[in-house]
């Protein structure tokens, strides 16, 4: 963990004393400066934390670099199922921070951060499309890569690699019926 990341974690701890951020590197590294630090945030306080990280003088995460999700079904030692992963980037401080927001079946839902970073719009649509996680408050939460009538969320781990035969379900249009 670099010094500047360390100070961000401290600021977060001071501002949100009631949240256990459990700051830890994504992976242990030989050189601590190479470590990519990840904190966990509960869904009900996600927007407050994000707004703070975006605007606070010591944080200044102006850009949402990446927003994705991982389905930890059957992952060794995983307790929750989905983690929505936010990768924040501060251009002024040249620093990154990862946030994980854990959600579970049957109705995984997290608040949308489109109001804070416009760049989240399509990325949240992609996560909804691929994982079936709803983003409450999203202005236009439609499927983006698959079609609206598609029922499944293909990047979930319980969805098989070769699909469930959706491509064979198309109605056959003949010359007479068209």
């Amino acid at each position: 963990m670099t010094d500047s990341t360390h100070s961000v974690i401290q600021r977060l701890g001071e501002r949100f004393g009631d949240i256990d951020f459990a700051a830890a590197p994504l992976m242990a590294r030989d050189n601590p400066a190479d470590e990519q630090v990840c904190v966990r945030v509960p869904a009900d306080q996600l927007l407050d934390v994000m707004q703070f990280l975006r605007t606070d003088e010591a944080c200044m995460f102006e850009q949402l670099c990446d927003l994705t999700c991982v389905d930890y079904l059957n992952f060794p030692d995983a307790t929750d199922r989905f983690a929505v992963i936010y990768s924040l980037l501060s251009l002024t401080r040249n620093d990154r921070l990862w946030l994980k927001c854990w959600v579970n079946d049957p109705d995984p839902e997290v608040p949308s951060v489109v109001g804070i970073w416009k760049g989240a719009e399509w990325q949240e649509r992609e996560v909804w499309d691929m994982f079936g996680i709803r983003f409450s408050g999203h202005p236009d939460l439609r499927r983006i890569l698959t079609w609206e009538a598609f029922k499944a969320h293909p990047l979930r781990k319980d969805y098989p690699l070769r699909g469930r035969g959706e491509r064979e379900d198309y109605p056959v249009i003949t010359r007479e019926s068209a």
């Binding site: 994504l26 992976m27 242990a28 590294r29 030989d30 990519q36 990840c38 102006e62 850009q63 949402l64 670099c65 990446d66 994705t68 991982v70 389905d71 992952f75 060794p76 992963i85 990768s87 251009l91 040249n94 990154r96 990862w98 079946d105 049957p106 109705d107 995984p108 970073w117 416009k118 760049g119 989240a120 719009e121 399509w122 990325q123 992609e126 691929m130 079936g132 236009d140 439609r142 499927r143 983006i144 890569l145 698959t146 079609w147 609206e148 009538a149 029922k151 969320h153 293909p154 990047l155 979930r156 319980d158 690699l161």
Partner: protein, 419 residues
């Protein structure tokens, strides 16, 4: 299958042709020469002025990220060729850069230099196409041909070094699929010598061309703060004055100091920035970046270190040399251990994000490993996808012909957009 709720298909937010309105709706794409690839835009028009623009994507979605959970760390490089097929080498390098970050592998000097040269050739290759087609869409055919002729030479150089022109699949975990031959640096140098003349030709045709400037200046405008807010990276962001280039800010390969472990200094280059935020600025940034790339290649091409291209395979994470496989039993066993489906890679359990600066912007991979042969999750941060979402904001208020200019300047590659 787990229980999860499904909403019925929602109507599109786009409401065409309200009664009493003289607006009309145009379906732009998905198969149109000016969309370059399969993009579809639904435009609401007032005469020829764009009132609303709704992009529909996904026509080329082929489940690359799902495939990434099935293919091992070397196999997936073949899929990355098909992402941004304008500069496949850059994708290869980005993928294995992320893998090596996960594995904690330090590359050999020769491999680092070769990868840097190739990354810069890929950048030139991508920018030549983008500059050329951006002009082509505006009716300037000649500049496109000048650019394409040079791309042909780059394809020849790639064919010489890896055997394939388009789908290169050149990198491997901890190295490269094959070494260069002795003549290759001379051919690269010859290419670098002839290229500046082409830049001059293109500039003569476009930079002060009154038609080109009037068609591009102020078109597709996005300002500095919006560019950051919309997560733009690469030449698009830099044309809006965002000072961000991963080669400088999070250096890797030869862009980092002490890349060879013996105190070598990083290659020197400038990051071109423009402040116009429009199509013209993006053209200028790209043109200037190609010149800087040539400069980087010139610094390295005479000093390619000798030695192996692959890291020594003690940890059994990299494939052995073909000669080892054919002429020694240890090499053969090692190769088997890598290839057999019940053996293969043994990465550490954990998560890692690695990104490189490609011609379109930040191309990153977020890898989750559970210690198996293939990644548990291989998220790709595709620059085209993330850059394209601000497109409606760029074109609303302009004419249809300006939309074509704006689209050309963004260099959207649908295969990477939809993955």
């Amino acid at each position: 299958m787990t229980a999860h709720t499904h909403e019925p298909p929602q109507p599109s937010t786009f409401a065409p042709e309200e009664p009493g309105s003289d607006h009309w709706v145009l379906n732009f794409g998905p198969q149109h020469p000016a969309t370059h690839t399969t993009l579809r835009l639904v435009l609401e028009l007032d005469g020829e002025r764009i009132v609303a623009c709704t992009p529909h994507i996904g026509y080329l979605h082929s489940g690359f990220e799902k495939l990434g959970e099935d293919l091992n760390y070397n196999q997936y490089v073949v899929v990355t060729d098909r992402m941004n097929y304008i500069s496949p080498m850059a994708n290869n390098i980005a993928w294995h850069h992320a893998c090596e970050k996960l594995f904690g592998i330090t590359l050999t000097k020769r491999c680092i230099v070769l990868r840097t040269i190739i990354a810069e050739l890929a950048r030139i290759q991508d920018h030549l196409l983008c500059v050329g087609t951006a002009a082509l869409d505006l009716g300037a055919f000649t500049a496109f041909l000048y650019g394409f002729a040079e791309r042909e030479t780059i394809y020849d150089l790639f064919e010489e070094i890896c055997g394939a022109r388009f789908t290169t699949s050149y990198t491997r975990v901890g190295g490269l699929s094959m070494d260069m031959n002795d003549e290759w640096p001379a051919h690269v140098k010859a290419f670098c010598k002839q290229l500046p003349a082409v830049f001059v030709d293109i500039e003569k045709l476009l930079t002060r061309n009154r038609i080109f400037v009037e068609r591009t200046k102020g078109i597709g405008f996005i300002d500095h703060d919006d560019a950051i807010n919309w997560s733009l990276t690469g030449p698009l962001a830099r044309a809006s004055g965002v000072k961000r280039d991963l080669r400088k800010d999070e250096p890797y390969l030869c862009y980092a100091d002490n890349w060879d472990g013996a105190g070598a200094s990083a290659v020197t280059f400038k990051v071109p920035i423009a402040y116009g935020g429009d199509v013209l600025s993006r053209y200028q940034v790209r043109l200037q970046e190609m010149r800087e790339s040539l400069d980087i290649i010139a610094q390295l091409i005479d000093n390619i270190p000798s030695g192996p291209i692959d890291v020594l395979p003690q940890d059994k994470q990299t494939l052995p040399d073909k000669r080892e496989i054919h002429f020694s039993i240890e090499g053969l066993i090692h190769h088997f251990e890598q290839i057999m489906t019940n053996r293969g890679f043994t990465p550490p359990i954990g998560e890692s994000y690695g990104a490189t600066e490609t011609a379109n912007g930040e191309l990153g991979f977020y890898l989750v490993s559970d210690g198996e042969n293939a990644p548990y999750r291989a998220r790709c941060r595709p620059p085209s996808f993330i850059n394209y979402q601000c497109f409606p904001q760029l074109v609303v208020g302009h004419q249809i012909s300006d939309l074509v200019a704006a689209l050309g300047s963004m260099n959207i590659i649908a295969a990477e957009l939809d993955r």
